[in-house]
Symmetry: C2
Subunit: 295 residues, 2 copies
Amino acid sequence: MKIGFIGLGNMGAPMARNLVHAGHAVTGFDVNFDQAKACQDWLGVADTAADAASGQDVVITMLPNGAALHQVAGEIMPVMASSSCFIDCSTVDIQTTKQVAEMIEAAGLRGLDAPVSGGVGGATAGTLTFMVGGAADTLELAMPLFDIMGGRVIHCGDAGAGQAAKICNNMILGATMIATCEAFALADQLGLDRQRLFDVVSTSSGSSWSMNSYCPAPDIGPQSPADHDYRPGFSTAMMVKDLALAQDAASMTETNTRIGKLALQIYQQFASQPDHAEQDFSAILNDIKNTPHKT
Amino acid sequence: MKIGFIGLGNMGAPMARNLVHAGHAVTGFDVNFDQAKACQDWLGVADTAADAASGQDVVITMLPNGAALHQVAGEIMPVMASSSCFIDCSTVDIQTTKQVAEMIEAAGLRGLDAPVSGGVGGATAGTLTFMVGGAADTLELAMPLFDIMGGRVIHCGDAGAGQAAKICNNMILGATMIATCEAFALADQLGLDRQRLFDVVSTSSGSSWSMNSYCPAPDIGPQSPADHDYRPGFSTAMMVKDLALAQDAASMTETNTRIGKLALQIYQQFASQPDHAEQDFSAILNDIKNTPHKT
């Protein structure tokens, strides 16, 4: 297929690279000249987003936020081939996703929202999970590309459902990670060995991906960022972004998400300290541990 | 073995019954005359706690709170046979557990704190999990009894470590359940189908025992209290108790457990409404769903 790929950052570049390696004709663009230049050895790079999108069968976007998506969508839609497919893999606010979906429909194009989980590692290895919103026949059309870039595709429903699934999942994740870290901090204070806490919780009703697969305490459980100086993994900045998107959606819909809201506040405070934003989000264990709380 | 069993409530009675069925000589006591009377067909019932404990190889207590444990411990220790073993299976505050452990040591007795998980169902079926604090050789001695009453025994460390593990686990559990319910409420508002949310989260980084094994939404995932009108299971009242014990321990040790604290407040508010305390703790989904939140 002829593919335009817009957004060649830490995630987009390896995703585009996997498409190129699989034999697709990919034209890339990034508003950041250095990022675009870094891909020139293996990718045809266009001068504008519109140039990258013009006449392609599929345009994929991987952008940092809703404002960037809105702008790119406005630039490329007028030049996209009729019936071509616009796949947005960014994680952005639901409102922008739904607005873009309406623009796509009005323009007679096909569209999917398909945010990912799996991070830079998954993007490089081609093992991302795609959470997809949009029509089933459009998904079927795009499936060969998802198969190249990812290991798993979940059709979550109509336009916006992919974004909704991602922020709901990550809201749970952020809150569960904090609760797990609080339990480690409390265990420390009570003289309960961390390994024993892991042995109990990981096999009991407190078990979770945060504890069992991504343990925030070093030297416990399977290898995780805690065993590598909290290099991400999934950065604290990304967790703040996703928790904020969840709270935007909750505010917009007047949904009761008090734990999710507090999780955002706790991660915002953590991220505001020097160097913490780029640490893995499980590094919040040390912050919780080092911040005694008087009642 | 000759066993005294003090506390013949919803949990204690079936635990004692399993010991009787296994051929042990059990003498029971309960301060509530009706509860004691209900066991008289299959259990020798004593008139006082001291009578039940006097001359036994092992005394097991299953009591509602630290005050009850403190009182019973004071009554029975003077009459317990030297080197006999005091196994407390209650879930109580860490301070009382540690005080009782000191009393046991001063009296030349052996002791274990061994709170359980698994509820009335596990107590009846003999499949409880015991989280045990105390000396390894005492645990070895008591192991045949744990094997009768339970399916799993985890040695968590010295005196108090069993209680610590239980409240740490249940603090994570309460917070994770609320976060999971908030995600269902948000999904509803965003038009994301609940089954699709389950499909994504249960196989992703938001997965947990609360979502995967005990899904709070009816007709989704394995059978859970949600599929049976939220009959417990694990009651909201018990969750409030355990979250409060965790916060007691956190206050005492000045540990930062902000998510755990909010989880307690949310469950206290839920439990204060008519009939909610005796519903399963996963019923909080309906409360979250029915309480729009304006920011």
